[in-house]
């Protein structure tokens, strides 16, 4: 069957009313968490893992993907109206978008962001549909050693390639890898690093770690800082519609943003934040009005917003075809697949073709829903920004602890008092998350390390078992050699750039979440 037929069948799955409902819930939640500062798609998907445990796998995955897409749309609203990015991928949007809002051009800024996101999402999702079968064919030849090399590359790009410091990126990664070791070894059944506590035999739950690092760590960081307590929401004044001039200046930026964002998301080269920064500097170069940049240039909103959506779709290429997450949200979505006993990768396209193509097709549907949610209904989302901080963060922590208890109800006795073990872990990792933020460590590598670490270990051990302990098996094919060389390059090139004082660009592209 060719891609069109598969996609057509996928559309039939996606248009079932129950899947439409899941998609709608997903995009609505995604937009809401995108708009709200302090929570993002990674945290939301992590919170929903325990809730969706008993629900339909296809529907749940459609919902997760809707949250990811929705988060990219919603983040722009906060950036434009509040000058505080709702998502790390929308940081650059604030540069030009908020300036536009202050000049009373908030409406067109929101419109160009939403329409750009729509076009990028549409093109990039079709790109995903057409590229995925090719990657799958290529990936079918991969053995354990190629997979190990691939994960090595993902580890290095996620931790060391971007951000302020190679040291802190790698440290964050190894904290995650160490946490991933805790529990019963998958291949031999031996207990490792559980400190004799039965509560730890099942390992550290993805939900608990992600919720602690993102929600608790963020809340403590916000409450501890003296600044950023009061912010001004810019009202949407004047015309909401884009003028002819706005359209003329936007459409090229949308396409350029898509062209930049999709490959960056698809290669293990960092997430949406990286692509939005690259798109911003590209727009600055191409613009006929470079003098407007920094004062509210519409290209500076259109390009990056298209780029971050395109890169969200791009991220799904390695996730679905190789089982390789390149961002924290993708890593948590991978955990979502695993919770339903599904392993993303080339075999999934054979064994669960209906589910995969239904998921891809429902992204197209979700994209239409998002356009409706974000253009005519934008006023509703703006209201969310007016929730006072104390109530907002108290509510976030309520849902954070809810998801954590849902992930594991295990009890730990403190003397005669039964207490929740999982909430203890949540607090511990929450303080860790605050410390990581305080000392400038990135968060995403910790989560990716926890999820991908055990998978990388399994590939490594399988490869070495097949070769009976001969380590040269790891470099036996050209694919492995190239991947390992790329992994080294991902660590060394940025180190050299930073040593030469060219680190600002990399530091600016540091992202925590998406």
């Amino acid at each position: 069957m060719n891609t069109f037929e598969l996609l057509g069948q996928g559309l039939l799955t996606a248009l079932q009313w129950s899947n439409l409902l899941y998609a709608l819930i997903g995009v609505t939640l995604g937009t809401a968490v995108g708009v709200l500062p302090g929570i993002g798609p990674a945290l939301t998907v992590a919170l929903l893992l325990p809730v969706t445990y008993r629900l339909d796998p296809a529907g749940s995955l459609i919902m997760f993907a809707g949250i990811y897409y929705g988060g990219m749309y919603g983040g722009s609203t906060t950036s434009i109206l509040l000058n505080t990015p709702g998502e790390s991928a929308s940081i650059v949007t604030a540069l030009e978008g908020n300036k536009m809002a202050r000049q009373g051009r908030g409406g067109p800024a929101l419109a160009t962001a939403a329409i750009g996101s729509f076009i990028a999402g549409l093109v990039a999702t079709l790109g995903l549909a057409f590229i995925a079968p090719w990657v799958v064919q290529f990936a079918l030849s991969f053995g354990p050693s190629e997979y190990f090399a691939l994960m090595l590359l993902a580890f290095m790009t996620v931790s060391a390639a971007f951000g302020e410091s190679t040291l802190r990126g790698l440290t964050a990664l190894f904290i995650g890898l160490a946490l991933g070791l805790i529990g019963i070894d998958q291949l031999t059944g031996q207990t490792r690093l559980a400190m004799g506590t039965p509560n730890l035999f099942d390992g550290i739950s993805v939900t608990t770690l992600a919720v602690a690092l993102f929600a608790i760590g963020e809340t403590i960081a916000v409450v501890a800082s003296r600044t950023s307590m009061d912010e001004k929401v810019e009202a949407v004044k004047g015309s909401v519609w884009m003028t002819k001039e706005d359209w003329r200046r936007s459409w090229k930026s949308w396409l350029r943003g898509t062209a930049i964002g999709f490959p960056i998301g698809a290669m293990p080269a960092g997430g949406a934040d990286v692509s939005s920064f690259l798109s911003y500097s590209a727009e600055k170069q191409f613009s006929k009005h470079p003098e407007e940049f920094g004062k509210g240039a519409i290209e500076g909103v259109a390009g990056p917003e298209a780029a971050n959506n395109a890169s969200a779709a791009g991220t799904l290429v390695p996730l679905l075809t190789l089982g390789l997450p390149t961002t924290a949200t993708a890593a948590i979505m991978l955990a979502g697949f695993q919770q339903f006993g599904l392993q993303p990768g080339p075999l999934l396209f054979v064994s669960n073709a209906t589910l995969v193509w239904g998921l891809i097709a429902s992204l197209l549907v979700a994209n239409f829903m998002l356009l409706v949610l974000n253009l005519p209904l934008i006023g509703l989302w703006v209201r969310l920004l007016t929730i006072p901080r104390p109530w907002l963060y108290a509510g976030i922590l309520t849902f954070a602890t809810l998801g954590t208890i849902g992930a594991s109800a295990s009890t730990f006795m403190v003397g005669p008092l039964p207490t929740s073990f999982e909430l203890g872990l949540l607090l511990l990792f929450g303080v860790l998350g605050y410390m990581l933020r305080r000392f400038g460590y990135p968060i995403a590598p910790v989560v990716v390390g926890l999820i991908l670490g055990p998978m990388a270990e399994r590939s490594l051990r399988q490869a070495l078992q097949i070769s009976q302990g001969d380590p040269t098996v790891l470099v036996h094919s050209w694919i492995s050699i190239v991947l390992i060389l790329l992994a080294f390059a991902a660590v060394l090139v940025p180190m050299i750039l930073r040593a030469r004082g060219k680190g600002q660009m990399l530091a600016a592209m540091a992202g925590d979440e998406d």
């Binding site: 008993r54 040291l167 070791l181 403590i220 409450v223 800082s225 108290a394 008092l417 051990r461």
Partner: protein, 162 residues
């Protein structure tokens, strides 16, 4: 790195907090190696057993600890804002109270206490507003998730009434 320029690098002094991080990393790496060494386990015929990767991770963490110590010595860590400790204690305290009480008094009551403490940390001092609101909110959440979505959430006296 974007904040720092060459003139300030010279004035930087060794960073004590960063040394503490290096020490914690070193202790963690030794603990992983020690725990792996003493874990016993079956004699494995496989060249790479369950202990190999923990040793690798421990060795890398130790290397990173040394690297961190070197950067701490040079004062390479980014500057930190001054922090308020009292609000942190309110948030952490609320979470501790919730953890300790949730298995006995149930989800709604324990979480409402945490809700109130968090709001207090964010300068919402009107406890007579936040506590009742938190209680009703948490109970509705409990109803939706425990009854509606079959999530296993601890029930206490309040939840058993319904």
């Amino acid at each position: 790195m974007s904040v720092r320029d060459d003139t300030t690098t010279i004035q930087r002094r060794p960073d004590r907090a960063a040394f503490a991080i290096a020490l914690v990393l070193a202790i963690a790496s030794i603990a992983i190696a020690w725990s792996t060494y003493h874990a016993g386990g079956m004699a494995s015929t496989q060249p790479v057993g369950p202990k190999t990767v923990p040793y690798i991770v421990a060795a890398c963490l130790f290397g990173l600890a040394l690297w961190t110590a070197a950067e701490a010595w040079r004062g390479d860590f980014p500057e930190r804002e001054e922090q308020q400790t009292a609000p942190i204690l309110w948030v952490v305290g609320g979470l501790i109270v919730q953890m300790l009480t949730i298995k006995t008094v149930g989800f709604s009551l324990a979480t409402a206490l945490m809700f109130t403490a968090t709001a207090y940390a964010f300068n919402e001092r009107r406890i007579w507003l936040t506590l009742p609101f938190g209680l009703v909110f948490c109970f509705l959440v409990w109803l939706a998730f425990a009854r509606g979505l079959q999530l296993s959430l601890p029930a206490g006296p309040l939840e058993r009434l319904f």
